[in-house]
């Protein structure tokens, strides 16, 4: 009877998760072009080629850079927002909704909104930066930032947009975690003479460990998969500065139709993310034992 209930789901699971995972690895061991009649087995040649591949190296660095710019700063933003909400301010639900709203938008909508915000000439960001510059009477004339058009600022632009997009999600989890900390702990700490910072460091953070772990891991996995932002807004440019691993994989598989190589890219990324996730688990749970 159990099999009957599980069969429909299981069929799809095998067909669209298990088989692809295994077959993907199999494909990566071949020279597999969509048009080729022959798809010769080449062993680990694709992986060896990846090691020498300039663009893959750039994509890895870019993805790592993106992760650096979004995982920790993004979670800090989420945590700060959660701390603010935790103080039981009035209109809490309104604030919560506002911060969470971006999460439910599609990447396409986010990209369209921010493409305009980042416009050098007409964008909101440059306009308000100019306003602030003039307000603070800073010397000289405000130089508009090139945002998406300059190799130095393109990736940070994508990162900022992504932080805005995702902060609300983790905020809710942190808020739930914060609410789960009993008031008595804080009382006890106050009696012992601990100040705000001390309470935060010795009570809040340690008790938030599970939420922190979860959010950081999910953020890391999420940021490794960044695709839509660079595909839609920059196409990997300017000058490859926003070429991410998934975008590289997509271009290899769906512009060049070299499936074997693209699968190799996917697998290497998978291994790296897996490794980082396990590392994170170990680090954060080791600290828990303290």
């Amino acid at each position: 009877m159990g099999y009957l209930f599980i069969a429909p789901y299981l069929v799809l699971f095998v067909a669209f998760v298990l088989v692809p995972v295994v077959w993907g690895f199999f494909i990566s061991l071949h020279n597999w072009h969509v048009l080729g009649e022959q798809k010769p087995f080449v062993g680990f040649a694709n992986y060896r080629a990846l090691l020498r591949d300039d663009l893959f190296g750039i994509a890895l660095l870019n993805t790592g850079y993106f992760a650096l710019l979004t995982v920790v700063p993004g979670n800090i933003v989420s945590l700060l927002l959660a701390l603010g909400l935790n103080a039981r301010i009035r209109g809490e639900n309104v604030y919560k909704a506002i911060f969470y709203l971006p999460v439910i938008l599609s990447v396409a909508v986010v990209a369209i909104i921010w493409r305009w915000m980042y416009s050098t000439e007409f964008g909101l960001l440059n306009y308000y930066l100019k306003v602030v510059w003039q307000f603070l009477h800073l010397p000289g004339e405000f130089q508009p930032v090139a945002w998406l058009n300059s190799p130095q600022t393109a990736m940070p632009s994508l990162a900022l947009m992504s932080i805005w997009w995702g902060a609300g999600g983790n905020m809710l989890i942190y808020l739930a975690g914060l609410r789960g900390i009993p008031e008595e702990y804080y009382e006890a700490a106050r009696i012992d003479g601990a100040g705000t910072w001390g309470r935060f460091w010795h009570i809040t953070l340690p008790l938030l460990k599970p939420s922190l772990l979860f959010c950081l891991v999910m953020s890391l996995i999420g940021s490794s998969q960044v695709f839509g932002q660079s595909y839609i807004l920059t196409g990997g440019g300017p000058h490859y500065s926003t070429l991410t691993v998934v975008l590289y994989m997509y271009q290899t598989g769906f512009s060049l139709y070299r499936m074997g190589y693209a699968c190799a890219v996917a697998y290497v990324m998978f291994i790296i993310v897996l490794g980082l996730t396990l590392l994170q688990f170990r680090l954060l749970s080791a600290r828990q034992e303290e």
């Binding site: 020279n31 048009l35 000058h239 512009s255």
Partner: protein, 427 residues
């Protein structure tokens, strides 16, 4: 779950879901299989006025032969994606257009049906009527896989009014387009003017439009090339190509007769009379024709270097490999018809590639095409390597970096050469 409350049983819900999925699978968007019957399926990317011209020729073919042709126009942006997937998974057309620079890519995977047997059997078809360098563009490993329909080389577009104003005219007072590097530089200098005295030119003697194709013209004229003749080595970082790239940079920075290709729509600039000369393909003809008040003419590209060369592209007609013999015959008739009538096709702003047609008075009257066609014997295509499209982004990036002054030509080309070599070395 409200459905449950309303009394629907589990079974009926499942049935409804399955039914709707079934219903929906009969929706449009399924690929059609190769229809047996005498209808020829023809794919191309000719949107706009090109498409209208082709449509007319196709209709005449239908009338004269009674063979039906179903033409599908897919914008070039998604054309090759759809073509590749249809060739791989079904639904491929019977005849399709392929650009010269992608022939090798497709041919490598045996996608084409070679035309040699059909050419042999066709007694009044003479391959030598075609210009040899263009006929060769349809060959792969000794087999003829594509029939060249046209060639679209670059040429020099120049603004007659601005030339006259600057006094660059011949003995009869007609504007005289430059033919050598020195003449070009001289003309460009005289045509670059700062009219409102703000220190920046408002009228430019020249502007780079499509960087990649302009660059290929320049390096070829210096004897350089992107790949070595055996297609195994990246050659774009060698002295001739570097010299040519430096020359392009000099035009911008040292001589100041062209704007930096950044934030400036060069082609628009030519159309609006702010740029006096531009090197672009014949396919831009309709664009200048429709610009009211623009007095323009076409000429051969000046000689920037010791060799005569100019970038060009070509549309070739190709067949997929699993056509039945009868179908192949039918399609060959269609391909021949298009080729024989390529003067009609030229009306839309293309250039035929058959010597017998190029000689005709009717073609002579197509002034700009005729002027550009003089360059056909030394047209240069992108390298005939199956990795040609894959390496394009690398030299595109190098050209941009060099022309924008981000890197020196040698550094930019070195980096591109290294990356291209990685791709070439791959099995």
């Amino acid at each position: 779950m409200h459905l449950v409350a309303a009394g629907f049983s589990l079974r009926s819900i499942i049935v409804i879901c399955l039914l709707s999925l079934l219903l929906v699978s009969c929706s449009p968007g399924k690929h059609s299989r190769n229809v047996a019957g005498s209808e020829i399926r023809f794919w191309n990317g000719f949107t706009g006025p090109d498409g209208a011209t082709m449509e007319k020729i196709v209709k005449r073919f239908e009338r004269e032969t009674g063979i039906r042709v179903k033409m599908q126009i897919i914008p070039w942006g998604t054309y090759y994606d759809k073509l590749v997937l249809s060739l791989a998974y079904g639904g491929a057309p019977d005849v399709f257009i392929c650009h010269a620079n992608r022939i090798a890519e497709f041919a490598r995977y045996g996608v084409f049906r070679p035309l040699d047997d059909l050419i042999e059997a066709d007694r009044d078809f003479d391959p030598s009527d075609f210009l040899p360098n263009i006929w060769r563009a349809g060959q792969y490993e000794g087999k003829q896989v594509g029939l060249p329909l046209d060639c679209h080389p670059q040429g020099l577009y120049y603004n007659l009014k601005l030339f006259r104003e600057a006094g660059i005219v011949d003995a009869q007072g007609n504007p005289k387009p430059p033919e050598t590097w020195e003449e070009f530089l001289d003309a460009a200098r005289r045509l670059t003017k700062d009219k409102d005295g703000d220190g920046r030119p408002d009228q430019w003697g020249f502007a780079f439009t499509w960087l990649r194709t302009n660059w290929i013209t320049f390096i070829s004229q210096h004897g350089g090339s992107i790949l070595s003749p055996d297609l195994k080595r990246a050659a774009l970082a060698e002295p001739p190509a570097v010299r040519a790239t430096q020359q392009m940079c000099d035009i911008i920075t040292r001589y100041g007769v062209a704007p930096k290709p950044e934030g400036f729509d060069s082609w628009m600039g030519f159309r609006q009379g702010r740029v006096a000369m531009a090197i672009e393909g014949i396919y831009m003809l309709s664009s200048v024709e429709e610009q009211k008040g623009l007095e323009y003419a076409g000429a051969s590209v000046p000689s920037f270097g010791p060799k005569r060369a100019v970038w060009g592209g070509s549309h070739l007609l190709c067949m997929p490999k699993d056509l039945s013999p009868q179908r192949a015959q039918l399609v060959w008739r269609f391909m021949r018809y298009l080729s024989d009538h390529s003067l009609d096709w030229a009306e839309g702003g293309q250039i035929p590639v058959r010597r017998s047609l190029l000689d005709q008075p009717r073609f002579r009257q197509m002034r700009v095409q005729y002027a550009f066609a003089k360059q056909l014997p030394y047209v240069v295509f992108e390298p005939a390597s199956h990795k040609s499209t894959e390496i394009m982004p690398f030299y595109d990036a190098a050209i941009e970096a060099a022309l924008l002054g981000i890197k020196s030509p040698q550094d930019a080309l070195n980096e591109a050469a290294r990356r291209i070599q990685q791709v070439l070395d791959r099995p």
